[in-house]
Amino acid sequence: MSSRVITYLPVVLFRHQGQCYAIEASAVKKQGQFDRLATEVLGNFSELFTAPLASAESAAVQWLELQGNAGQAWRLGLSAAAELIELPVQCVYPLPAILAALREMPALHALALFQNELIALLDAAVLQQMLERKSTECKKTL
């Protein structure tokens, strides 16, 4: 079996409250325009930062369909458009140990410095767990 040297990492990039986030493109199956009446999402990315049904600026405008932990797909709502980019691998860094210990968002997996901007690389599987937990908590409070 030949091992191929990876030079670029394709990621799906999106913004939230001025910060850049990305999910490895191999975990993303589709993307589309959010329709409040027709789109079912596991959760909106903004819910991880604020209470659900918060401000209009955190309302979803797009969705990403991601490969789920148990094989089935799930959808993530985004408050801004997402785009596919290729990150040169030399821009990608593991999370420094102290940040891994202190992170409040378990899905934060790695960092990239690209075009003088920091990109937080997220683990889609952990993100799914976080949103499922959030969704369960919300149901309990209702």
Partner: protein
């Protein structure tokens, strides 16, 4: 009768000789800095490099307030954290005074990070016996992190144990 100036000079000279480090005494290098109104030191061997406080820090989302972010150090990234919260000191770092601050690239056996300090004061060699054990009266919140106390230019300087600092962060005590 008051001392003549000569006698004062001779006394000063004698005192200054007493300050000279005995070469047979083991010496340690200390990086002395200020955090708020208090003075601290780290062992020189645990500080790899000192960077200016004006280095561009990239904010990392999803981190506690004590984490400033990361900096690019010659093509690699290094985290930057503030010691203030851990040592229960008020955070005084403001954008307008960033040029006065420094980032110490500190390392322990298992971790490393940039530590923002309000002002770097000195890097000096001191005789090991000048570092006294931490006093009983040391506030409880400092006890886990202070390994010794040093008198420097009339100031009490608490020598910090970098392993204890990193360990506190790693185990979520901070």
């Amino acid at each position: 009768m008051s001392d003549s100036q000569l006698e004062q000079v001779l006394r000063q000279r004698q005192n200054s000789h007493q300050d000279i480090v005995d070469v047979d005494e083991p010496v340690i290098k200390l990086v002395i800095f200020r955090l708020g109104e208090q003075h601290f030191a780290l062992a020189g061997e645990s500080v790899k490099e000192v960077l200016p406080g004006t280095e561009t820090v990239f904010y990392v989302p999803g981190m506690p307030a004590s984490v400033e972010g990361v900096i690019n150090v010659r093509g690699d990234i290094e985290s930057v954290v503030q010691l203030h919260a851990l040592l229960q000191l008020p955070s005084t770092v403001e954008k307008s005074s960033l040029h006065l601050t420094s980032i110490l690239l500190a390392r322990s056996k298992h971790m490393h990070s940039g530590l923002r300090v309000d002002r770097l004061l000195d890097v000096l060699d001191v005789a090991q016996n000048q570092v006294q054990p931490p006093p009983e009266a040391l506030p409880d919140h400092l006890k886990p992190y202070v390994s010794g106390l040093l008198q420097f230019n009339g100031l009490a300087v608490a020598v910090l144990d970098v392993d204890a600092l990193f360990n506190a962060w790693q185990t979520g005590q901070a």
